[in-house]
Symmetry: C2
Subunit: 112 residues, 2 copies
DNA sequence: GCTGGCGTTGACGCTGGTGGCAAGGTTTAC
DNA sequence: GTAAACCTTGCCACCAGCGTCAACGCCAGC
C-alpha cells in the first residue's frame, strides 16, 4: 500500500509517517516512480507507535518496541529495552499521580 | 529594586520577568536611566505567578490572579475569575488522574 | 489532452516559556 | 580610569510532532 492508505489505516497522516521515517522508526521500499510502498508489517509497526504515543510515550521511547517487532516478536513489549521503557514510564506515572494529588489538595484548599 | 534583584527574590530570571511584562502581567516604573524599578507588591505578584506556574497553570491562567491582587485583594484566589480558573483546573486534574490510572493499568498488563 | 488526486522533497510555522547573544548604555568598586 | 557587573532592546534558538505550503512528478479517468 502507499503512504496515504497506510496513514488512513493507522489513523494518522502521511506527514507523520514521513517524520517517523526521518527519525529512523519506519522504512519503506520504493516503487519505480519513487513512491513509498508499505506492507502489513509496517501497518502493525505504525499502529504500535500510535498506541504508545497515545499513552504518553514520546517517539524516542517507541524505538525499542519498533525494533522488537522488527526482530520478529509478535508483541513489541517482549524485549528488554521495551520492558525498561515501560518500567520507567510506570514509575513516572506513579510520581506524577502523587504530584497531581498534592496539587489537587492545594487547589481545594484555595477554593475552600 | 531592579530587575535582577526581583528575579533573584522571586526565584526566576530577568528574562522571564521581561516576558511577563510583555504579556501584560507585570508593569514597571522606569528610573531616569531607563531601568525597570519594582516594589514589594511586584514581588508578591511574581511569586504568585511562579507558584501558579509550578502547579501546572500556564501564564494566561495566572492573569485573573494577578488582576485580583492588583485590585487590592490579599490573595489572588479571592476573585471570581481566579475561582473559575481553579475550578477548571481541578476538573482537568481529576480527568488527568483517571486517564493516568488507565494508562498505568495498560502498562502493568503489558509488563505482566 | 486535461483535470484531479495521488505522490515527492524542502522549508517554514506553531506552541510556551524561556536561554542566550549582540551591541550598546550605566553604575559601582577599586 | 578602568573593569566588572548591572541594565536596555531586539532577535534567533530550543523542545516535539507534526501542519502547511511550494513546486514539482506520476497516473487514472473522461
Amino acid at each position: 500500500m502507499r503512504i496515504g492508505e497506510l496513514a488512513e489505516q493507522a489513523g494518522t497522516s502521511a506527514r507523520a509517517l514521513r517524520y517517523y521515517e526521518q527519525q529512523g522508526l519506519l522504512s519503506a521500499r520504493r516503487t519505480s516512480n519513487g513512491y513509498r510502498e508499505y506492507d502489513e508489517e509496517d501497518l502493525r509497526l505504525v499502529r504500535e507507535i500510535r498506541a504508545l504515543l497515545e499513552i504518553g510515550f514520546n517517539l524516542e521511547d517507541t524505538r525499542p518496541f519498533v525494533e522488537c517487532i522488527r526482530e520478529g516478536h509478535s508483541s513489541g513489549a517482549e524485549c528488554p529495552g521495551s520492558v525498561e521503557v515501560l518500567t520507567r514510564r510506570l514509575a513516572e506515572i506513579d510520581d506524577y499521580i502523587v504530584r497531581l494529588r498534592r496539587i489537587r489538595a492545594t487547589i481545594v484548599k484555595e477554593l475552600g
